[in-house]
Symmetry: C2
Subunit: 313 residues, 2 copies
DNA sequence: TTCGTGGATGGAACCGGTTCCATGGGACCC
DNA sequence: GGGTCCCATGGAACCGGTTCCATCCACGAA
């Protein structure tokens, strides 16, 4: 492992100049910079992260805190954040916050430069309090004063409901998400509003955890309403529904339309089925982008970004 | 943020002694150590990770490299590894290796102390070569000379096949996993062996990517064989099968038995359906445990651990 | 009493970068 | 031609720990 001193020696300059040349800061003669860069390349120089962190007083690590890894809604977010972090020269660590969220934050806070917080549930004050120690960006939820980025699924659910009503569906079911979910509150309101405007009957079921099993379980209740269209909170719930409907001989979408996401439609060859298309990677990427700006002081906390969510009718 | 110097000053000792007391190494008089610990507690001292890394020449970070986060087989492994890493005082970063696996390794290698490698596919030499720079533990795959831990699903698949044959199934289908998968080779061999011994007819389909959509797609081919039992490589494939069978009016398990995992059985209320129960968290925990021992020099590379996988008939 | 021994402690070097500050030299202007 | 200013560069301090080595002290043995 070669060090900065080695590079400096080979290039015939001091450590100080070598450091400046490699970081692109400060003023270095182009010719000198070229020599340093060449030397670094030849030696395969990789800066020692620990030394850099110590000198800069920054860890270069960002933590993304998610409730679980078992929900495929979160994983693309992580992937997107990871990609963007790498571009910006940060490392990402994934922390799963179980029941002991505050404890987990406290332990991490001194180790990282900032947080990406994915906390769909839990009280506002808890989220704010635990992530106050370091700059943080809230993902897919909004709290006043906190920087956040959300997929505007509420609007998408509204559009989708309107579309269903326009297709002649007079009885629609919305299967709600987990208890206390911020997004569920938004979506419920949007769906109710859209149904009311369109004059369609709406039944709201739930709360339901965002799992496959919950979708299976809620199926009888859905059928009981006599509805011709279902809008489930999450893809996992929708899959559970589809599976349970299949075993009951209910044909989709002939007997009942179940809204879902494009990948499911494609996989199953469903037709005449509406879908919303949340780009989780984009969500993660954007959130990380905001956090990097916060850390660089290019942005003040509190900015709220909404990403449009396409609806495919 | 208080530093070691602060702690030393408060305790009335030198930095050297304070360090020794806090790390439990070297010899420190019990009375002195007590004073240092008390001072540290009072000041809320948290050692600066970067400084410690720099001095020790160890980063304290371990990377787990997975092919994707979208497969729920990998995520519990990460969770288990994460838990064990925390116990041992390591941080875990999750790296997703896309097409550029060697590049990803090279960039990471200088930043971390070791690797957990989850590489179900890809050639042996590639895996060995890319992870040779740092101590590594291979997860759910075996390569001579590398430390590894695998869930012995091959044995479980064999047992399961035997059980199916004993239940009277004369025609069985095994839906194979992704092309080049090490586990798939093991499982195929085990299933073939068990079927032959039991005198049951076996059709091997595939290769199939471990996705939901692949399960849907393979369904017609499965039905065509006239088999009464299917053993899919992965849970995701099995779910696709179940879904597609439902839409075709094939009742499970009356018309066709589909082996799966316990959580699916429970969710769907399936009966008379065999399941194998891979404990992903345990896999991750064990792998991390092995890596920690490697890093501490308590173990030589090359140890291979197999975890038994229960079969529920 | 003195020497040897070993445990507790402190001083200081060191890990590998970053950055403040001082210095030197060249170009430009008067 | 001389003075000024600015830019490129180097020296050295510093980030906050760890650890080698020397020192000091107390105790037991000769």
């Amino acid at each position: 492992m070669s060090t900065l001193s080695d590079v400096a020696a080979v290039a015939g300059v001091s450590k100080a100049t070598a450091s400046r040349a490699l970081n692109g800061r400060g003023l270095v003669a182009p010719e000198t910079a070229g020599r340093v860069l060449a030397a670094a390349a030849r030696l395969g120089f990789v800066p020692n992260r620990a030394a850099r962190e110590l000198a800069r007083g920054r860890s270069g690590i960002i933590a993304i805190v998610v409730p679980t890894l078992d929900n495929t809604f979160f994983t693309p977010i992580i992937a997107g954040a990871q990609a963007r972090a790498e571009e910006a020269g940060f490392q990402l660590t994934v922390a799963v916050h179980g029941p002991d969220a505050p404890g987990a934050f406290a332990r991490l806070a001194s180790q990282v430069d900032g947080f990406l917080v994915v906390a769909p549930r839990g009280s506002d004050t808890l989220v704010v309090g635990t992530s106050a120690a370091k700059p943080a960006v809230l993902v897919d939820r909004e709290i006043d004063g906190m920087t956040s980025v959300v997929a505007d699924t509420a609007a998408a659910f509204g559009t989708l409901t309107t579309w269903l009503a326009a297709q002649g569906h007079e009885r629609i079911v919305y299967v709600g998400g987990p208890e206390g979910s911020w997004q569920d509150r938004q979506r419920t309101a949007a769906v109710q509003d859209a149904a009311r405007r369109a004059g369609a009957g709406l039944t709201v079921l739930g709360p339901c955890p965002a799992t496959f099993a919950a979708g299976v379980e809620v199926t009888p209740a859905v059928l009981e309403t006599g509805a011709t269209a279902v809008v489930p909170y999450a893809t996992s719930i929708g899959l559970g529904l589809l599976l349970a409907l299949g075993t009951r001989g209910v044909e989709v979408p002939r007997d009942l339309v179940v809204s879902t996401e494009p990948t499911v439609i494609e996989a199953l060859g469903l037709e005449h089925t509406p879908a919303i298309d949340v780009d989780g990677e984009e969500l993660g990427r954007t959130a990380m982008g905001l956090l990097v700006r916060l850390l660089d002081g290019q942005d003040e906390p509190g900015r709220q970004v909404r990403l449009a969510v396409p609806v495919r009718g």
